[in-house]
Amino acid sequence: MGEGSEKPGAIIIDTNVLFSSLVKQDGYTQALLSILLVQKDIVLAVPKSIRTEINAHIHEISRKSGLPVKVLKDVMDMTLGRIKVFGDDEFALEIKEAAGLVHHGHDAPFAGLALKLRPSVILTYNKRHFNSYDLEKRGVKVLEPCELASYLDMVIRVNKKVKRKGGILKLISGLYLLRSNKA
């Protein structure tokens, strides 16, 4: 099985994807997150410093979104509460390595964590911020939410011969098949 078709051990969630839970038009990403968040076999991860910073800016987020702080906290608890956090010191070496693989320094912790947990996927709306080619050579795929279902479907088809399905159904069946594939 090639590197590009390896089952991801972890999915690193970029902040812009996390914030999709607060954007009205982002139903697809919300559905995707809802399914991923309850999967036991796939680790969803964020750097701890990001979670801390989101919590520190909850009042600003409230002001800009118009959502009450309590509502925001409930939504964030439901999402961030199910995502594994890693202290930046746990992957400091990888952050240094990642500095050359991102276009903005502040994306280095995401790429660094992805390197630490490879084979992995960075789920983001800003693929252009990452050097996808070099990251992929190191076992890290950079994908937008709309690409993840197809990617998992491809992983499954390499491992098992299954009928193609579409959209969210593809993702759900894919995740269940990944699980049975592991067994």
Binding site: D14, T15, N16, L18, F19, S20, S21, L22, V23, K24, Q25, D26, G27, Q30, A31, L33, S34, I35, L37, V38, Q39, P47, S49, I50, T52, E53, I54, H57, E60, I61, K64, S65, G66, L67, V71, L72, D74, V75, M78, T79, D88, D89, A92, I95, K96, A99, H104, G105, H106, D107, A108, P109, Y125, N126, I172, Y176, S180
Partner: protein, 72 residues
């Protein structure tokens, strides 16, 4: 405190899903999360552009602190 809403799903659909190996408990949890996000975002003023800008600012501030802590 949590509030409950009832959902009706055709029995045949539910049985078919169970027979296909889908865990109804996991599906219920997914629906809870999805419903919470949908209800919250329906009244949100954030669009994708504003959310991206806010995300970038938060990442930049977080990175400033992390760099200092890690001595980078």
């Amino acid at each position: 405190m949590a509030a409950k809403i009832e959902l009706e799903i055709p029995r045949e659909v539910l049985e078919h899903a169970k027979d296909s190996g889908i865990s109804i408990e996991e599906f219920r949890k997914s629906l809870e999360i999805f419903g919470t996000m949908q209800l919250a975002s329906e009244t949100s003023r954030l669009d994708r552009k504003k959310a991206d800008a806010m995300s970038e600012r938060i990442k930049a501030r977080s990175w400033e602190k992390a760099r200092k802590n890690l001595g980078l």
